[in-house]
């Protein structure tokens, strides 16, 4: 993140700081309402495409939003966040294929594995700053990717996990039923976003912003910067891993591409599209990115050119994401109406 962006970010955030306090109850209600709307969607439309789209939004959305906890809130530009996406997909897939445990057990166990791996990698990485941090995370990602490729007996190498992921029903939920998978994905997305929002709005979240803006100052007032960074690194990894698990369920397999740097690149791109200064920016970016990807690939095989131009347009032309514009527009409108009434 450039200083300019950081400055803009703090401006927008300051605005929200003065006007809103953390309101977990209201957030919980909104989350519940969103979930209900999403859950009712299949009744309104028979479009399987829409369901697929929302499932993919859940996978990528959790991944991108968790990346924003690092990039936007803490100023840690991770180029290797995709490794946790891949880890989630492989951890879950392998657990279901090899051990045959119940889905929730595999889910929790995968999170536990991610926790340990993220703790080790994070402990090494978060000491570093800026480009060094970015490159060491990238290096770890490539390490995990190479491990997946070469550990053929366990991971299937570059062919990926084959034979489908078995999903024995649990608590009346059958994930091989597409509708059930859809509802579960929506639930995971909404819960994930809710939790991440609570983290972002908590005192800890504000500590992160302070570290981003001035780490020296933060440590002078007694904050253990390393520990705070490590905590958010691990938390973000857990959400990315959840995204990976949803993706593994969607494609019924796990492939080395899930842990490749291109996934991390897509995460960064999504954040640029949506904007890193607002909590929902990456979620908007995800929807935008997937719509863009799906429509462009349907029309032309030269999608690389189109997506490249869009990236350039956002990076050089706009210099901020879509959500940033929405917020700015909203704030300006309110100010104008404020002027009029006073």
């Amino acid at each position: 993140m450039t200083e300019l962006q950081a400055e803009q970010a703090s401006k927008v955030l300051d605005n929200s700081v003065t006007k809103s306090k953390p309101r977990p109850n209201r957030d919980a209600l909104i989350a519940l309402a969103v979930f209900v709307v999403l859950a009712l969607l299949p009744m309104l439309t028979s479009s399987k495409f829409l369901l697929d789209f929302v499932i993919r939004c859940a996978a990528y959305g959790l991944f991108a939003t968790s990346l924003n906890l690092l990039v936007g809130y803490t100023g840690l530009t991770s180029f290797g966040h995709g490794m946790f996406f891949g880890l989630g997909a492989y951890g879950f897939g392998l657990m279901m294929q090899k051990t045959g445990v119940a889905v929730p057990v595999a889910f929790v166990a995968t999170l536990a594995i991610t926790f340990v791996v993220a703790l080790v990698i994070g402990a090494i990485c978060v000491r570093l700053k800026e480009i060094y941090f970015a490159f060491v995370t990238l290096a770890f990602q490539m390490l995990i990717h190479s491990t997946i490729l070469s550990w053929v007996s366990l991971t299937g190498g570059d062919q990926g996990l084959r034979g489908g992921i078995p999903r024995p029903p649990f608590l009346g939920i059958d994930l091989s039923n597409h509708l059930h998978l859809y509802i579960v994905s929506c639930a995971l997305l909404v819960i994930g976003l809710f939790l991440m929002h609570q983290i972002a709005q908590s005192p800890f979240g504000y500590t992160l912003r302070m570290i981003r803006d001035n780490a020296t100052r933060a440590s002078f007032i007694g904050i253990d910067v390393w520990r705070a960074k490590l905590t958010i690194f691990v938390l973000a990894a857990l959400f990315a891993s959840t995204g990976g698990m949803i993706m593994a369920l969607f494609v019924s397999g796990a492939y080395p591409e899930f842990a490749y740097w291109t996934i991390s690149g897509e995460g960064i791109f999504i954040n640029m599209l949506g904007g890193v200064t607002t909590f929902l920016g990456p979620m908007v970016g995800t929807a935008l990115f997937l719509i863009l990807n799906d429509t462009v690939t349907r029309v032309t095989e030269y999608h690389g050119i189109v997506l490249g131009i869009v990236i350039l347009f956002f990076a050089i032309g706009l210099r901020k994401g879509l959500m940033d514009f929405v917020i700015e527009w909203y704030v300006q409108r309110r100010e104008r109406s404020g002027e009029r009434t006073s």
């Binding site: 439309t45 028979s46 479009s47 399987k48 495409f49 829409l50 697929d52 789209f53 993919r56 490729l149 053929v152 299937g156 190498g157 570059d158 062919q159 990926g160 084959r162 034979g163 489908g164 091989s176 597409h178 993706m247 969607f250 494609v251 019924s252 397999g253 492939y255 080395p256 591409e257 899930f258 291109t262 719509i291 799906d294 429509t295 690939t297 349907r298 095989e301 030269y302 999608h303 690389g304 879509l322 514009f325 929405v326 700015e328 527009w329 300006q332």
Partner: protein, 419 residues
């Protein structure tokens, strides 16, 4: 008063965005309407390093689809191909395949994906129950492993293990005749390279037990510089070299090895050499490289095969690839199956495809068969020959014996625990 443009999103662009969103989600209903034509979805790789896989697969398919449509289509329904790029990413392959069936209303799938993408599409076929023909994945386990088996998936590509059996027996005959005992291998470092080389060596040693591998090299896939690999092989001084490098990797390797005159110092067996993608690109094609056939006009040496190759070249300006014939075969089989079943329904077609034997320019004896038990293609032309630097490049191909192939394949399946 001048009107200054405020930064931010205008109402108009908001509406435009919402409109775009609505169009995206409304397409499913639009797509339902037609019933007379039958849509066939085809996810493949049309961009990136192996884009040629997708383009030559598409060409092979379209060449045959035109013929089928001219002859009345599949049980009276004209075929409409919907071909989409997966960028070589398995999650995109899965998404595209689902979209083709769920949104675009495709009733059949031609899966022209490579390696992991094919397994991703296979899972989609398992989930949706749609008839799916794998046309490019040569990984044996896709059809040999009973865990992978689903009644609605077939394969019209050659199979890795068939190649290894034929390659191994051909090489063993030459090894015995010329006394080649010290061998080296040089293959790309990924599943295809490792598995194919491993199986090849197994069969080579089986037919010629005194062969010994003295050097192994595993260059990375898409590696640009092979100097290190070439010098390593030269230092080991083997009498023969096996390689399953392919496409651009193989041609760069040959160009670079030519500088060191590697091909004059040992017999070289490169299974993927006899494909026009490699033959026409190498600068100085050395004489006498042993290669398996991929697609070559001269083998099978029939008028039908030569005519098919020429028709393809006349239409697309280049010779067909291995992928072209594999994809064309899928359409030929579908056309015959629809005649037999008198229907274009996926389930009936699948039933008709099992055990179906059709006339084919690519058949070893003029026919190919979709074997019923594991739903994979057998009887296709498979053999080895040596190169010359100009057309027809591989003038004579020694055919593999399908009886031996099938016997050894059954044995191999048993050893893997598949049967």
């Amino acid at each position: 008063m001048t009107r200054t443009r405020k930064p931010g999103i205008s109402r108009r662009s908001t509406l435009a965005l919402m409109g775009a969103g609505a169009v995206t989600f409304a397409t499913p209903w639009v797509a339902r309407a037609q019933a007379k034509t039958i849509k066939v979805g085809m996810p493949t790789i049309l961009s990136g390093r192996v884009a040629q896989l997708g383009t030559s697969s598409r060409n092979g398919v379209m060449l045959e689809v035109e013929k089928v449509n001219a002859a009345g289509g599949l049980a009276g329904r004209q075929i409409e191909m919907v071909i989409r790029d997966s960028k070589g990413q398995p999650q995109e392959a899965a998404r595209v395949a689902r979209e083709l069936v769920n949104t675009d209303g495709c009733e059949l799938l031609i899966d022209a994906e490579a390696s992991s993408g094919a397994f991703a599409v296979h899972e989609v076929a398992r989930d949706l129950g749609v008839l799916c023909i794998h046309t490019n994945s040569e990984t044996s386990s896709l059809t040999a492993d009973p865990k992978q088996h689903i009644p609605n998936a077939f394969r019209t590509a050659r199979q890795g293990v068939h190649d290894s059996i034929v390659g191994g027996s051909y090489a063993a005959a030459i090894a015995k005749a010329k006394g080649l005992k010290k061998w080296a291998t040089c293959s790309p470092d990924y599943a295809y390279g490792r598995d194919t080389t491993g199986e090849y060596v197994t069969y080579l040693k089986r037919f010629a037990p005194d062969v010994e591998i003295i050097s192994e090299s595993w260059p990375k896939l898409f590696q640009p510089d092979y100097t290190e690999v070439v010098t390593k092989i030269l230092q080991a001084k083997p009498q023969a070299l096996y390689s399953c490098l392919w496409g651009g990797d193989l041609t760069s390797y040959i160009d670079q090895a030519n500088i060191y005159a590697l091909f004059t110092q040992m017999e070289v067996f490169a299974v993927n050499m006899a494909d026009y993608t490699a033959l026409t690109v190498v600068k100085n094609l050395p004489k006498g490289i042993h290669s398996g056939n991929r697609y070559i006009k001269t083998y099978p040496a029939t008028a039908e095969n030569a005519a098919w190759g020429d028709a393809y070249k006349a239409k697309y300006g280049e010779y067909p690839t291995n992928w072209s014939w594999e994809n064309a075969t899928a359409i030929m089989l579908l056309a015959e199956a629809s005649k037999k079943a008198n229907s274009a329904d996926g389930k009936k077609l699948a039933e008709a495809l099992r055990g179906l034997k059709i006339k084919s320019p690519f058949g070893a004896d003029g026919t190919v068969t979709m074997r019923a038990e594991d739903q994979t293609l057998i009887g296709y032309a498979i053999g080895w020959g040596t190169t010359i630097p100009q057309e027809p490049y591989v003038p004579e191909v020694k055919p593999g014996d399908w009886k031996t192939i099938l016997e050894l394949e059954a044995e191999w399946k048993k050893s893997k625990g598949y049967t």
